[in-house]
Amino acid sequence: MVTFWVALLAISILIYLLLDGFDLGVGMLCGLARSEAKRETMLHTVAPVWDGNETWLVVAGVIMWGAFPLAYATVMSAFYIPVIVMLLGLILRGVAFEFRSKALRSRWIWDVSFVAGSFAASFMQGAMVGALVEGLQFSNGDYVGGTFGWLTAFSALCGIGLCFGYSLLGACWLVRKCDGLVRDAARRQIPPLAIGVLMFLIVVFAYALAEHLPILQRWTDRPYLFLFPLIGAGAAAVLATSVLRHDDYWPFHMVALIFAAAFGTLALSFWPYMIPFVLTIDEAAAPHASLAFMFWGAGLFVFPLMLLYVAVGYRVFRGKSVQAVDHY
């Protein structure tokens, strides 16, 4: 039961990373688009799906609360400021979708809030992961790091890194969904963004080595973990060739694979901890009665249905995005 829910939590977080990742990325790239028409086209590629994408964050959140209440309570309260700033960022960018098309003179406000909200949410997500990797201060299971305990050079670096990563995913999404100028611009953005992500990975790795982060020992203990960077490297090679060949389809999938590989690395490095070296999965797990109640309904039947809704949504809006007739 615990294994089932930890797997579902991991899958939900990964789906969130990939789906909201590209739509946050498109949000950040909107800041680089100079013309109204470009921004409109970019926005339109994510408008029908952003709500569903963001819902995966809530899915991950409530699985964590229901199945691992201790981890939920500890992580959310320790990350008070970053969680709230992330939420406010998501609010500002979320309402921009609807408000932008209703605004006349005030449209620039929603462009700004769309871009800034996307940045804030992405940065905070990266910073929180970074802080977990580096380790938060606990004493007897209680968080003692203070209001800004999560903010370090390393976590800030991870925040910036995730902004690059999401933007890269967003650019590949635009290549896949758009034509003409927007696609070409996005394709030109892929190499610098990819190099940014690569630089970030190198710096993080160097930092981890220099600081002797305890999580690194996982790598010597578990050599199979090196499989994931290899998958990532292979995906990066395919990404490079597909961009050179001006292929529209493969870049998105390859960056998604890189994300999956990175996530897999991180998740297996954490195992069996939920909060590294403080709280294990088993310690955090809810009583069997709770896990079983969720399993026999939500887990077994509704979760596949949710995947079906996502599939239906993406199927209806498949192919190159066309401008809406009346909305937006």
Binding site: A47, P48, V49, D51, G52, E54, T55, L57, V58, V59, G61, V62, W65, G66, P69, Y72, A73, T74, M76, S77, F79, Y80, I81, V83, I84, L87, L88, L90, I91, L92, G94, V95, E98, F99, K102, A103, S106, I109, V144, T147, A286, P287, A289, S290, F293, M294, G297, A298, V302, F303, L305, M306, Y309, V312, G313, V316, F317, A324, D326, H327
Partner: protein, 466 residues
């Protein structure tokens, strides 16, 4: 726990949830109405239904978006500000919220995109299906939230183990009687909100002498629905009162401003409760009515606040006044709905401009009723978060500092005020522009530029003399 941080956390929760409920209260009813409109259009082919559908869909989109983003906050705020509660009640509240997210949010979110953008891409039956799924999603969401909150009001089906509420009877948690009066109460409140907004918009157009055909459909449907649902709502409201009486006697005493045990009890209609003297000033009360309302008896003894230890009493003024405002709104709406429906049947509504003004200005009433109803329920539950088991003061994040809580509260207020003012302004502008004000290219059905062209086709509601 820093008392300032506790107070700020409570304010923040009250503020963010009050802000949030405004939108679902509206969209639950509106989603159901959109489904009816789409079905009626597909069945009858009358263009007025399609016009109204497209028009209200725009408004639905804005309100739904604000509901979604303000709702995401709620899923995380339990953890940020109420970590002890999250730890203790996670095994019960967590799975309930997981069911909400799994069954409701994904359904809404998945089909919302199709609702807004998908009409040209899917067959009509699937579009109708998508509309119905969004409506179903909003309703399921309300259901799970009511299960969740009802458990906090009347905790049941659990044992306390290792400092956690461990569920031992899920059927009792989900199917207990309290849920099944409170959920219909909230659902009806949402339908009434939708009905009154639609009717008020109709009244507004008639007062401005525009969109006559659409206005009549909106008034007729909105008022008829409200006229039928309001008596039911008052009855269910009474049943909700019964559960409070049975399970939360201190809250009941606070609502009634009953300071001391009485037999038979009188009913305080209005007063200024004064907790320092434990009495009411300027009270107007009716003897024996209190016992009748509480126990359907002429002689029952009703419990007063002084029977409870001071640290177990809720504040009195907020539940007392909030409850009376809620009930007052209910009766005003009942009067408007019945009068309006009756005059509508007699074809005299359009000439009753005073009543039209009344209906137009009544649109905030359902929201006021919902908010005050929730304040009654939640403030009346104090000093408990989980009634009788976990105190609010013990539920908050122990290490939260006052400065962090201040910063987050200020940020929430600033951002919400910002998006609320723009959001309501955009909705106002959409409403003001009316169904023909739809921007962009024309619909694939004829949209009348002159409302009269539609009214010609609807002899039943056309009246003499415009």
């Amino acid at each position: 726990m820093d008392p300032t941080a506790l107070l700020l956390s409570r304010l923040q929760f009250a503020f963010t949830i009050s802000f949030h409920i405004i939108f679902p209260a509206f969209t639950i009813g509106l989603a159901a109405w959109l489904t009816v409109l789409e079905a009626m259009h597909q069945y009858s082919g009358r263009p007025v239904y399609r016009t109204l559908f497209e028009f209200w869909l725009k408004i639905f989109g804005v309100a739904f978006g604000m509901g979604v983003v303000s709702g995401v906050v709620m899923a995380f705020q339990f953890g940020t500000n109420w970590s002890v509660l999250s730890k203790m009640s996670g095994p019960i509240q967590g799975p309930l919220l997981a069911y909400e997210t799994f069954t409701a949010f994904m359904l809404e979110a998945g089909f919302f995109g199709i609702l807004i953008f998908g009409r040209p891409r899917v067959p009509p039956w699937f579009y109708l299906f998508s509309t119905a799924m969004v409506a179903l999603g909003t309703t399921l969401s309300a259901f799970w939230i009511m299960v969740n909150n009802s458990w906090m009001q009347v905790p049941t089906g659990y044992v306390l183990q290792n400092g956690q509420f461990v569920p031992d009877d899920w059927a009792q948690i989900i199917f207990n009687r309290v849920v099944w009066v409170r959920f219909p109460h909230m659902l009806l409140a949402s339908y009434l909100t939708g009905a009154f907004c639609v009717a008020a918009t109709g009244a507004w157009y008639l007062l401005r002498r525009t969109y006559r055909a659409e206005a009549h459909v909106m008034l007729r449907m909105g008022l008829a629905l409200a006229a039928a649902l309001l008596p039911l709502q008052l009855f269910i409201g009474h049943l909700v009162g019964d559960y409070v009486h049975d399970y939360q006697p201190a809250k009941f005493a606070a609502i009634e401003a009953r300071w001391h045990d009485e037999q038979p009890a009188s009913e305080v209609l209005i007063a200024i409760p004064d907790s320092s003297t434990e009495s009411n000033r300027y009270a107007i009360s009716i003897p024996v009515l209190g016992s009748i309302i509480a126990s359907m008896s002429l002689s029952s003894k009703e419990v007063g606040l002084s029977s409870f230890a001071p640290q177990d009493r809720p504040p009195v003024a907020i539940p007392f006044f909030a409850f009376r405002i809620m009930v007052g709104c209910g009766f005003v709406m009942l009067g408007l709905a019945w009068l309006g429906t009756w005059l509508g049947l007699k074809h005299r509504l359009e000439r009753s401009r005073l009543l039209l003004w009344g209906i137009f200005l009544s649109f905030p009433l359902p929201w006021i009723a919902i908010l005050t109803g929730w304040y009654t329920a939640e403030v009346g539950r104090q000093p408990w978060t989980v009634y009788g088991v976990l105190r609010t003061a013990d539920a908050a994040t122990p290490f939260l500092t006052a400065s962090a809580a201040t910063a987050s509260l200020i940020l929430f207020v600033a951002v919400y005020a910002f998006i609320f003012s723009f959001g309501t302004y955009y909705i106002y502008r959409l409403l003001r522009a009316g169904p023909a004000g739809l921007s962009g290219k024309p619909l694939d059905v004829p949209v009348p530029n002159r409302p009269m062209s539609l009214a010609d086709k609807m002899p039943t509601i056309v009246e003499a003399g415009e």
